[in-house]
Symmetry: C2
Amino acid sequence: MNPRTLVCLAALAGATGCASTDGYQVREVGSFHAGGSQVSLSGLPEREIRLTPSAPAIKVNPNGDFETGQLYVQYVSLVAPRARYPLLMWHGGGLTGVTWETKPDGAPGWQQYFLRQGHDVYVSDAVERGRASWSRYPEVFTSEPFFRPKHEGWELFRIGPKYDTDPARRVAYPGVQFPTQAFDQFAKQVVPRWATNDVAIQAAYDALVTRACPCVILVHSQGAAFALQAALNAPAKIKGIVAVEPGGAPDPGRSDMSRVKGVPHLFVWGDNLSQSDLWSKLRVAPDKYRAALLAEGGTADLLDLPAQGIRGNSHMLMMDRNSDQVAARVQAWMAANGLMK
Amino acid sequence: MNPRTLVCLAALAGATGCASTDGYQVREVGSFHAGGSQVSLSGLPEREIRLTPSAPAIKVNPNGDFETGQLYVQYVSLVAPRARYPLLMWHGGGLTGVTWETKPDGAPGWQQYFLRQGHDVYVSDAVERGRASWSRYPEVFTSEPFFRPKHEGWELFRIGPKYDTDPARRVAYPGVQFPTQAFDQFAKQVVPRWATNDVAIQAAYDALVTRACPCVILVHSQGAAFALQAALNAPAKIKGIVAVEPGGAPDPGRSDMSRVKGVPHLFVWGDNLSQSDLWSKLRVAPDKYRAALLAEGGTADLLDLPAQGIRGNSHMLMMDRNSDQVAARVQAWMAANGLMK
């Protein structure tokens, strides 16, 4: 009996008919923290706080033991996955795993898309962000965080050339696929970031790979350098990498590229890159990495959306109106590379 | 036909569906941010940062528009829910929605338990925590955060009377149900907190109620005061409240208790409360609130676990080894109060 039949029987039990095959049979929704270690603080002064304005002051002692450097991952595992390996979804800078969930305009995002395609999905929050938590600074994290203002999200993520506080006065790129009316909702996803945690971030990702892989990694922006490095660190564990608008890459001159020549890579790029000084610069390293992979005889495919006639995609293309269309290209690439059963 | 299929068919014959034995049919895993508003910063100085130690210094300008005060919620909706209303799961202080997910020892937690019982579940991260994000201080959040050391988790959450950095030297209460060997894993869930965000936290919870309810709220510790207030604010929206080890409650002398006399309430308490000065104090307000509800003619039931012969539960009873046993009591109470179909 195949999974679809079970779906129909379960639906009949609920007296809702087989129309409910639009759902999927889940074995478990679960989560864990991976990586991290204990740090101890001592000698810091107590301070007084009030838990409510009218409450008596209480002393808070900041000293003691803490966990630091872990990441958080949530998985949805299917009863009958059709993909060979779990799909790990890693976000970019100043964001969390919410990147992959419901889109800011309320439509289903890539987590849903790939679940419906039969992948077990693991959506993580990297060290310092979201449910991974963050640590006191400068004692544990060694610098101050910084917060991304909306104008950076609008302009650097290539939604348009000019942000304005007034939504009606924001200038978008012609034909941009990002749902601009949902931009303020998107801004609620933004989290603070640090510039000094890269070693800890990589270590926690490597710990996740040890625990959750063999797997395929789907990674966005800042996350790409960590995913490409994770494959160099543990190539037998990584069965494929899809780097969506990678913001960086390891230096192939300092990497043993022969280690990853058996790992299929796909590099996905949206539109209006030439409009952006930042992205013109950021694209250099991933392009160099891809060229080195090809020179090594590896699989390093390019999905250049405008070159394929798919126009208007922003940096946040998993949130764009045509996100399913782009996801379908990625899914087809995975199937073509033997990653589906 | 494999044995698992046979189990499913047998379950169908019993009209309970495959869900209870072999996963459950999910319509959607989704998420959104609720509440919050825009804040603008200006006049703050730029500072220099390096994105990697060897990278050139870049200037970061902290001024601009930001979203603040939102919460995050993730929902899992079933194809055929057996509960009448979605179940909203609100965490306590210094924690996130991870409270309800897989337990620190790796066993399924209450999110899984109630999904398998047929509830649509909404697990949120309150303002300032996890995927809700947090805001620059003191300009937006008006105070500094504080970080809970492990010894507070061990002692204030009533795992045992004495924490030690060395796990072998930690003293637990006799017969404690918390999986003490998983305590350091639990500590990875802890997030910083502020003492000055209560108004924003309540506003975001009220926005969630407006969007996701009618519903039942299952709430832990610090969250309880917000949930009880949310019911006072919108009683027609709240069909039941389960307050697990509530850390506070509104003052019934300042509340129109008649508004919530139609909302069934359950108060759940673990063991060793009398060993804790803190909990002896914190329990006063919820007990007073419960008494006022009863005086008003409302339903305000008490599930005092030790009084029922269930011993050893900590403050984090949804993570305790017997968490399914406690959840079953809560589930039975919901069924008895008309909250299941």
